[in-house]
């Protein structure tokens, strides 16, 4: 079916019907509250709206003090990871039609990072772990001036999956091991180490493997797969972690 005709047009055919959806949002204002509290909002929504639209509607029409991060609104910038109905997701990639709206929709901040306000957490510990794995190319060879380093299609494919990371922290803050004490490097840092460990142009894999052979490194992963399931970019996080573990055992990528 390569030629499109009028009646093949999909999307817009659905009857446009709106629903009242109840959102329960875990609020926290450090200036006033000692403990987070739940607050409910009723919002008129369409099936194709996203949870981010709902948050915007609340902020823009009901309560301007509701605070959350967001930017791109289509799952590419990693600003709005939050716990929606008990699972980490991006608010801008979660459609109302995929949720059960006969019940209230629970929205709360991601877990395991310091809560700052409403849905905002302090991301600094997360980025600190990221920085610690040396997430940048270190190459000893110098390419011909004005020329790219050569890399075969197959070598490029090895680390393709982990280049997709948008550092949203959905994975790390879904990890039960990370929740326990926040010491674990966390899946996102390992994913970004993986991205370079398996890049054929890089010469610093050993250092990164040593870093991740830490007490708080890959060995703390208990393969609970929450990270893989939470990743909005569909990265096979647990698989990447397994590959790093094996590289450490082999002593090379």
């Amino acid at each position: 079916m390569s030629t499109a005709t009028l009646d093949q047009a999909p999307a817009a055919e659905a009857p446009i019907q709106s629903f009242t959806v109840t959102f329960l949002i875990r609020r926290f204002d450090p200036d006033v509250d000692t403990e987070p509290r739940w607050q409910d909002f009723d919002v008129e929504m369409y099936a194709t709206d996203r949870v981010l639209d709902a948050l915007h509607k609340i902020k823009w029409e009901q309560d301007g003090s509701l605070t959350f991060r967001r930017s791109c609104a289509h799952g590419i910038c990693g600003s709005d990871a939050m716990r929606i109905n008990g699972r980490n997701r991006l608010a801008c990639k979660t459609l109302i039609k995929d949720l059960d709206i006969s019940k209230p929709i629970y929205v709360e901040a991601i877990k395991g990072l310091p809560l700052e306000k409403d849905l905002i957490v302090d991301m600094e510990p997360f980025f600190a772990s990221f920085r610690e794995v040396q997430p940048f190319l270190v190459a000893n060879s110098t390419p011909e001036p004005g020329k790219e380093r050569v890399q075969s299609v197959a070598n490029r494919a090895i680390f393709d999956d982990t280049t997709k990371c948008i550092l949203c922290a959905a994975c790390t803050s879904s990890c039960p091991v990370f929740w326990t004490d926040g010491q674990y490097f966390g899946p996102a840092a390992i994913v970004n180490a993986h991205r370079f460990i398996f890049d054929s142009r890089d010469d610093n894999a050993q250092t990164r493997l040593d870093i991740l052979n830490d007490k708080e490194g890959v060995w703390r992963c208990r393969t609970t797969f929450n990270c893989t399931e939470a990743c909005p970019r569909g990265i096979e996080v647990t698989k990447a972690i397994a590959e790093v573990k094996q590289a450490i055992m082999r002593g090379k990528p």
Partner: protein, 143 residues
């Protein structure tokens, strides 16, 4: 500044045996699977199962070095495996400090004492202790 505090503190670093612990859990796990299933099968499934277990049954088994080694191996592997697993839990749920040290110490002590005790029991076991009623002893003691 943050009202809900970060559970952690600056990351501790240094050389460690985590890799070996991890490998050990898997290697011992596979062996334990065989040993424990064999153990359970022999003790609970064959014959009258648990009802058949008594001093005589144990004595009968340990008369055979095969079962002696079987059980000793199981003892070592399982205790170390279990204690190491428990250490993981202690690491997860307690913060570095006295409590954590005490718990780990207790785990180590318990495992060490029981390993020594168990090994001694298996190898110094006397299947036909003098003066015991013959009906409690393995059948071969009658001789």
């Amino acid at each position: 500044m943050t009202a809900i505090e970060f559970p952690g503190e600056p990351r501790r670093r240094g050389s460690n045996l985590e890799k070996w612990g991890w490998i050990y859990m898997r290697a011992s796990g596979v062996v334990l699977l065989v040993l424990i299933f064999g153990h359970l099968f022999m003790n609970l499934m064959v014959g009258d199962g648990i009802q058949a277990i008594d001093f005589g049954f144990v004595g009968g088994k340990w008369a055979d070095p095969f079962w002696q080694w079987w059980d000793v191996l199981m003892l070592w592997l399982a205790l170390i495996h279990g204690a190491n697993g428990m250490r993981t839990l202690v690491n997860d749920y307690t913060n570095p400090g006295t409590v954590q040290k005490v718990l780990k110490g207790a785990l180590f002590a318990a495992a060490a004492v029981l390993i020594i005790l168990g090994t001694l029991v298996v190898f110094t076991f006397e299947p036909c202790p003098a003066g015991a009623p013959a009906d409690l002893l393995p059948s071969f003691c009658a001789a």
